[in-house]
Each structure stands twice: as C-alpha cells, then as structure tokens.
C-alpha cells in the first residue's frame, strides 16, 4: 500500500466536475485506490463518494493505492489534484 498526502486547492474541493475527472483517472488503473479525508474514506473510482467526502478548499486528503500499478496511480492522481484538475485539456 502506498499513500501520499495532497492539498486540494480547487475552490470547492471535490465537486461534480473535479470528482468526475478524478474518478475517471482512477478507473484507468488496476490498483484498488481510496481517498481519505478525516475519518471518512471513499472509493476513488466513485465520483459520488468523492463528492460526498465534502472536501473543502485548502484541505488535505490522503490518496492510498494497493496493487501492481499503485505507484503510477498515486502519482497520476496527486498530479491531477495539484494541477487544479486540468487533465490534458
């Protein structure tokens, strides 16, 4: 299991657009990926679960992955969040 902390800078954290982009990216990998916020945990492939975390601007989340491509998964998702969710647009 590999885990990193990421600060969310986007104006309202994980909202519809950003959750959807994050979930889509997470679905590209084979590993099991979760996002932790406080005591809540969400399946990274579920956009609705990510929204329901209620992550606010400037807050930190943990991205954890387990599986063969866990390192790439975590790096890609961390970059996505830090680039303001601008995924190759």
């Amino acid at each position: 299991m590999i885990e990193v902390n990421v600060k969310v800078n986007d104006k309202i954290g994980f909202h519809a657009r950003t959750s959807s982009l994050f979930a889509r990216e997470a679905q590209k990998f084979k590993s099991r990926i979760i996002v932790g916020y406080g005591e809540r945990v969400a399946d990274a492939r579920s956009m609705l679960s990510l929204m329901a975390l209620g992550v606010k601007q400037g807050e930190e989340v943990q991205i954890g992955a387990e599986g063969r491509d866990c390192e790439q998964a975590v790096a890609a998702l961390k970059t996505l969040v830090e680039n303001g969710f601008e995924a190759g647009q």
Binding site: I12, S20, A52, G54, G88
Partner: protein, 603 residues
C-alpha cells in the same frame, strides 16, 4: 412596483418579461418484475441517459456547461452507485425505479448534510439525473407533460427574449432554453455557487438568486428589472425607475461595445503615453483568443500548462510545435515565454523529488530548472531558440532571486545555440532573457539584476504572498493578501527604480494589472506594460485611454505615503473622477466580464 433583494450571482443589467418555470412532482412507477429484468431495465436506461447527457455536453455553449453535463454522464459509471442499485434489486428484491431513487437519495442526503454550500446545490442536480433514469422506466410516456415522447424533456420555446424565473433550476433545465433568448436568471432559492450562477457568469448575463419565494407570485409575463450587480429584482417598475435603469444599462453597453471595437488599437493615455496591454495565457486556444481580443502581445505564457499527468514534461519537438503555433497568432508582436515554473506545489513525478516541508520556499522555478538542467530546462531552451526564429519570442525566468541565475541561463542558451547551429538549424536571432520579479530579493535588488536581465515582469500574486509572508490559500491569513497593499506598492516602486536608468522595460503580469483600482498607481509608478486575462484586454485598454498619466503619477506618489490598503483605496476612489471622469467604480469592475455574445436590445 416591488423590489426584492437576493444574492448577486452574476453581474449585469437586464430588463424584460418574466418566463416562469414550474416543476411537476415526479411519480415513481409501482410495478415490479424479476431482479434480472429490473437490472436490465436499469442498465439500458442508464446508458440512454448517459448518451443524452454526452450529447448535451457536446452541444453546450460554454466550456463550463459542457463539463457539468459530462461530469453527470460519468455518474452512470459510478461503481459505488451501481453496487448499491444492484444490491437493492437483487437482495432486497425491489424494482429498478425504487432502487435508483433510494441509491440516489442516499448520496443526495450526504451532499445536503455537508457544510460545503456548493454541495447542497449538487444534491438537487443529482436527484434530477436520477429522475431522468426513472422516467425512462415508465412505458406510458404521454402521462408526463414534460416528456417529448422519448422520455427526455423537450426544450422550452420562449416566445420572446425573457428573464427566466424559477424556484430553482438544474443544469438540465438550463439546457432546455435557447441561449440567445435568455436575458437573465432570477431564482427564488439557490446560491452563488449553483449551476445557474456559474452558467450565467460564463455567458455574461445577469443572475439574481435567493430572491425568496415571493418572486414566483403571479409573475408570468410581467416586466422585470434584473440587477445582477446589486442582487435585486424589480417587478413592474414605474416609468421613472425604468428610464433610469435603461439609461444605466445603455451607458454600460455603450462602454463595453466601444471598448471591444477599439481593442486592437493601442492604449494611449490622455496625455499621449502608450501602454502595452498584453495577455496572460497557457495554451494555444487561449493565445488565439488573446490575439482576437486585441492584446498587443503575450506578456506571460505559462509553459508549465503544457505539462499533464500523462505527459509530465513535453519533449523538445512538442514544445517547438506549440511555441511556433502561438507565435503564428501574433506575427511580429511580443510573445514572452516563462520557462517551466515547476516544483514546490507543482510537482514533476518523473523526477521523484523529495517532498519538501516548505515548498513555497523550496526548489522551484528557475532553481529547479538549473538543478535538473538536462531534463527540464535544456529541451525547453532548445525549443525556444528554434521557435524564436519564427517570431518575436522572449524568454522569462520565474522565481529569480540573484543575478547568478540569469548569468547561468545565458551561458546555457549560448551552448544550446552553438549546438543547434552545428546540427544545422537556422539560428540568427538572439533571444532576449528577462525575469519575473516575484521574490522580495528581486524587487529590492532590481538595479543589480537589471545589469543581466533584458526586462522585468512583476508577478504581483507571488510577490504579495512573499512580501506579506502569508498564504493566499490559508483562510486564517488570506486577508493580508487582498487589497492595494502599501508594502507591495513599494516593492513595485523598487523594481521600477532599479530598471530606471537602464532603459529596460518593466511590466506587471499579476492580478493587479487587471484591477482598475491598481492601474493608475502602477502606471504612475512607471510601469509601461500590463499583462492581463485575455477577456480583460478591451476594458483595460479603454480604461487607460481615460487616464491622465500626470495625475496618475500624483496618485502613485500619495499612495506611497499611505499606511493601509483602505487608505490607498479611498485615495484612488477620491481621485478616480478627476483622472478619468468615471464616477462609479463598481460599474467599472463589473464591466470586466464582457458578454460572449451580443446583448439583446432592451424592450
């Protein structure tokens, strides 16, 4: 005549008839078949709804709208939602409609109970998508008056340009209107983060939300005055109010139109000083938009925007292609490329850099570029030198804090140039190298840096954070970042003074460059180039044409003697009328969001 006060969700003024949208209460069908069949019904409907939303996404008028539709289309792939629905169908033996309703409600309630206000609005959207799926289960579509016979809601036909009035509107509702017929939105509920507000701001039309349930009372067809600047809606205005409103709107429209029509011309102050108005951008499309909006060039091209998760560091050829494309939109006008501003909070995964405890003060910008020269800076310098033969390209270095950094880069450029010539590339033009002034060191040592830098561009965003020692993302201290800070004004002054006797130009590319309250001070201090958002180019040029530079110098001199941002702002307000003839500064700020389409005539 009645005036209601709500929340100003999108600026601008509109007058027109009200068109009321009412929602029918949806009904859940009651029949129940075997689980396998119910699951098939669900997956089929879900697929159709996803396709419908994707089509709406493609047809959307704005990028923001397209993204919202696309996001909700993705909801149908949400594995947790699908698992929940499957469980209710197979284990609880309920029908598909009940399963969808329950699963969606579960998530909707979680969003509603969040203390992030925007998520509450999303709960409403979520239920709407759920309803779309459920409606398709019903075999008798004609029972639903909102149905076009295929299970999807038909477009609303507006008889004339109208102001849409509703209790609340989902993103699906807004897609049912022909955009050119919508003058503005007025909602009884909702917040400024809601979809309607976002859409209205993107489209450049006014919106007032949270006006209260009273706004819906027998309002269909009545004349409304919608004031998105102040957040008010006036119902059935009397003649005097209507005339005043029309006058104000007419003046606003007139200024906007004039600014846009003159945007390609130079911005020259009343006393004859030409100010370059450039644009800040980070991709080809935006650069094209900037050229069309009349920008005199690009003052800041954020090359790190070319870095994506799938392609963290574009290679020399990829960069060459983008740079030449951008240059082609500007012919012989200035295009300033900032070398990769990476590191700190903008990581480069392929480098496996150790995590820093203080990324803001760490290995970033030019420091990172030089420390990892072969991977980061070299391909970029080569691409820039090659592309620089096709136009007026300038290089700019981020996060400079001492002269050695500039000298090192110049040496490297020399090496690259020699190598390129050996490899047979045509190189005849020397690329000028300037720097971002964003560290306090760069500001106070400007004189020394001016020896090796060809130009300065003051990045007021980061400069303000470093000078005030406060993080704009930290709510506990972000109040120290806002406003016209005297400390920052002095930093700008140092930078300008440093370049003063060298003849090297000084520009500003941070947010202050696009703030009409700051512009007189910046120009008064001696800045002669402003680089702003492409959309703000016409307005800032227009504003500059109203300014008298001598008066601006006087304002800047006095601003330097003030101690608080409030004092500075009061000073600017007081003299704004004298130097520009503009009395209403709020009006000016709201002119910043130019409509993307022609505004309809007031009836």
């Amino acid at each position: 005549m009645k005036t209601l006060k709500g929340i100003a969700a999108s600026p601008g003024l509109a007058a027109g008839p009200a068109f009321v949208v009412t929602k029918e209460k949806p009904v859940l069908p009651g029949e129940c078949m075997d689980p396998e069949t119910e699951w098939q019904r669900f997956t089929q409907s879900a697929q159709q709804v996803a396709n419908h939303l994707s089509r709406l996404s493609e047809a959307a008028q704005t990028g923001g709208g397209a993204q919202i539709f696309s996001a909700y289309a993705g909801m149908m792939d949400d594995p947790v939602l699908l698992d929940k629905i499957k469980e209710i169908i197979f284990l609880q033996k309920q029908n598909a409609a009940f399963a969808v309703h329950t699963a969606v409600e579960d998530f909707a309630r979680q969003l509603e109970s969040s203390d992030v206000p925007e998520l509450k609005d999303r709960a409403y959207d979520l239920r709407e998508v759920g309803q779309l799926v459920i409606r398709r289960f019903s075999t008798d579509h004609s029972a639903d008056p909102l149905d076009d016979g295929n299970g999807f809601s038909p477009p609303y036909v507006l008889p004339r340009p109208s102001i849409i009035v509703a209790d609340d509107l989902t993103f699906l509702d807004t897609a049912r209107f022909e955009p050119s017929m919508v003058l503005g939105y007025c909602l009884a509920r909702g917040g400024s983060g809601g979809h309607t507000a976002i859409l209205a701001r993107a489209a450049g039309i006014p919106a007032v939300v949270g006006a209260g349930p009273g706004v819906l009372n027998r309002i269909m067809g009545k004349t409304l005055l919608l004031n998105g600047d102040e957040g008010t809606v006036t119902i059935e205005p009397d003649t005097e109010t209507m005339n005043r409103f029309r006058g104000r709107k007419s003046r606003q429209d007139h200024v906007s139109a004039r600014a846009v029509s003159q945007s390609s011309e130079s911005a020259v102050t009343r006393d004859g000083c030409k100010i370059e108005v450039y644009a800040n951008t980070g991709d080809e499309k935006s650069a094209e938009h900037a050229a069309q909006s009349g920008a005199d060039g690009i003052g800041l091209f954020r090359t790190e925007f070319l870095c994506t998760p799938s392609r963290p560091l574009p290679d020399e050829e990829q960069q060459y292609r983008v740079y030449t494309s951008v240059l082609s939109h500007f012919k012989d006008k200035t295009v300033i490329l900032r070398t990769f501003d990476l590191g700190g909070d903008k990581p480069v995964p392929s480098l496996h850099l150790p995590q820093e405890s203080n990324p803001f003060l760490g290995l970033r910008g030019i420091r990172l570029g030089l420390a990892h020269y072969d991977t980061i800076l070299k391909p970029q310098l080569r691409a820039a030198v090659r592309a620089g033969q096709t136009g007026n390209l300038f290089l700019m270095l981020p996060m400079v804090s001492c002269p050695q950094e500039i000298i090192d880069v110049r040496v490297k450029i020399g090496e690259c140039t020699r190598q390129l010539i050996e490899e047979g590339f045509p190189v005849s033009r020397e690329i000028p190298v300037g720097i971002m002034v964003e560290t306090p060191a760069a500001a106070v040592m400007a004189r020394s840096l001016a020896v090796s830098a060809d130009f300065f561009s003051i990045g007021t965003n980061d400069l303000t954070q470093y000078t005030m020692a406060a993080d704009r993302g930290n709510p506990a201290v972000s109040h120290l970042i806002t406003g016209l800070r005297p400390a920052v004004i002095r930093m700008v002054h140092f930078a300008v003074q440093g370049a003063a006797n060298t003849g090297k130009p000084v520009g500003v590319c941070g947010e202050l460059a696009g703030d009409p309250r700051a512009v007189p001070i910046l120009l008064g201090l001696g800045v002669r180039e402003l680089s702003v958002n492409p959309r703000d180019v016409p307005l800032i040029k227009h504003f500059i044409r109203q300014l008298n530079l001598n008066s601006a110098r006087e304002i800047a001199r006095r601003a330097m003697m003030r101690d608080t941002p409030e004092d500075v702002e009061a000073l600017v307000k007081k003299y704004m009328k004298d130097i520009t003839g503009i009395t209403d500064i709020t009006g000016i700020k709201n002119l910043k969001s130019f409509p993307r389409r022609n505004t309809r005539a007031v009836n």
